[in-house]
């Protein structure tokens, strides 16, 4: 190797390191950038229409903790927080309207607010969203899974439970790449990042509430009583 070639080689190595350093520093800056966004209320759900709706009038009460829920991303890994309260409340409403004949929305859970007006009270009580890191089956790799769980209770007018369930759904998460890094890209990334697991959660919610035998028994008993 001539002296000139050695100098060229050194120059190329130096340029490569400088380029890598710039990329690295800009990425470190990204990890420190935090965004605050709201998820849209009307985000698209993937719930399919049911063959025959549940022939009951339902009142929906969403707990205030759900209405004000926001997901706060973990430092470094998730750059920001997303207000999800409105999106979740709207998804509760749309999911139930997809399966019940009639749904009214309650602001208060007092008996006066709903008894006499509807057949059942549906309470969305808690929500928990966590990002988990799981090993793949072969144990060699890890992947990120967003686990969402919501607690539901359905009560009759006498306040007795007809149905209770904690619906747990999982959605595999892939990192969203932003390059070049812009605030709007980070905001869009965070929004989509949380809407995907919500779609999965509400599809499962619909399936679970609709496929359980609770309402068939309740409707049959109501018919018997009327006779």
């Amino acid at each position: 190797m001539t002296k000139e070639e050695i100098v060229n080689f050194k120059g190329r190595v130096m340029s490569f390191f400088l380029f890598s350093l710039v990329i690295l520093l800009s990425s470190c800056a990204t990890t420190l950038t935090r965004v605050n966004v709201s998820a849209p209320k009307d985000f698209e759900l993937r719930n399919m229409p049911v063959d025959k709706k549940i022939p009951l009038r339902a009142a929906l009460y969403v707990d205030p903790k759900i209405k004000t829920y926001e997901y706060v991303g973990q430092p470094i890994f998730e750059p920001g927080k997303v207000f999800l309260g409105d999106a979740i409340t709207s998804a509760c409403e749309r999911t139930l309207k997809n399966v019940f004949d009639e749904v009214i929305i309650l602001d208060s859970v007092s008996n006066e607010a709903w008894s006499g007006r509807v057949d059942v009270l549906i309470r969305a009580e808690t929500i928990k969203m966590v990002l988990l890191n799981k090993p793949k089956k072969n144990g060699a790799f890890f992947y990120n899974v967003f686990q969402t769980s919501m607690k539901w209770n359905i009560l009759n007018p006498q306040n007795s439970k007809l149905y209770t369930n904690v619906i747990v759904s999982e959605e595999e998460q892939k990192p969203v790449s932003c390059f070049p890094i812009t605030t709007s890209c980070l905001e869009e990334g965070m929004r989509n990042y949380l809407l995907a697991p919500l779609r999965e959660q509400f599809q499962k919610t619909q399936d679970e509430i609709y496929s359980s035998g609770w309402w068939k028994e309740y409707v049959a008993e109501a018919k018997e009583t009327k006779k």
């Binding site: 990425s27 890890f142 007809l162 932003c178």
Partner: protein, 188 residues
């Protein structure tokens, strides 16, 4: 009943029994013609035999291994729940972690991954075990005729006492009349 080390490691990533937690896998099926039931896992108990009433549902004739093995006749402390048993066994303050970055540029992805892997290696095992336990637990769910529900119930017990277990008493609530029904499952 999961009291085999290899099985515990496969399912939970740790030998829980050494930490005083015995996982029991329950399949709860409603074969009645009518009525929904909820299994009340907090009221589940395991029993050991005092006299010859193996398989009896009469709890008065059985012992439940509690936190005080010296007093085998005491059964007041034997009810174990996930909330009580697991954090105590694994240490409080377990949190969720993420092992890979989310919204980053390409190089940030590399940096984040390296950091993620490093953090994972420090705190992963305890948390992973905790999450295995949490996500495999039996959740509260109404089970109507023809439906089935399953999951783990965790009992607080010393490893040495496992051999004394005769069976498990489960309590289910009838959602229609609110009555409690007890079911005995022999583990011998």
């Amino acid at each position: 009943m999961f009291n085999d080390e290899a099985r515990l490691n496969t399912y939970f990533g740790d030998n829980l029994l050494k930490k005083g937690v015995l996982p029991v896998y329950i399949v709860f099926e409603n074969n009645r013609a009518k009525g929904g039931y909820v299994l009340l896992k907090e009221q589940s108990k395991f029993t050991t035999k005092v006299n010859s009433s193996i398989g009896s549902q009469d709890t008065s004739s059985t012992n439940v291994i509690g936190n005080n093995p010296a007093d085998e006749r005491s059964r007041s402390d034997a009810v174990a729940t996930l909330a009580a048993a697991v954090p105590a066994a694994l240490g409080e303050g377990a949190t969720v972690f993420a092992g890979a970055p989310l919204v980053l540029g390409p190089a940030g992805f590399v940096v984040g991954t390296v950091i993620g892997v490093a953090i994972s290696s420090y705190q992963a095992n305890k948390e992973r075990v905790f999450h295995n336990i949490e996500e495999k637990q039996m959740i509260e769910k109404a089970v109507y005729p023809g439906e089935r529900h399953s999951g783990f119930i965790y009992f607080n017990i010393k490893e040495a006492d496992v051999k004394n277990i005769e069976g498990i008493i489960l309590t289910a609530k009838n959602l229609k009349n609110q009555e409690l029904e007890q079911l005995f499952i022999s583990l011998k």
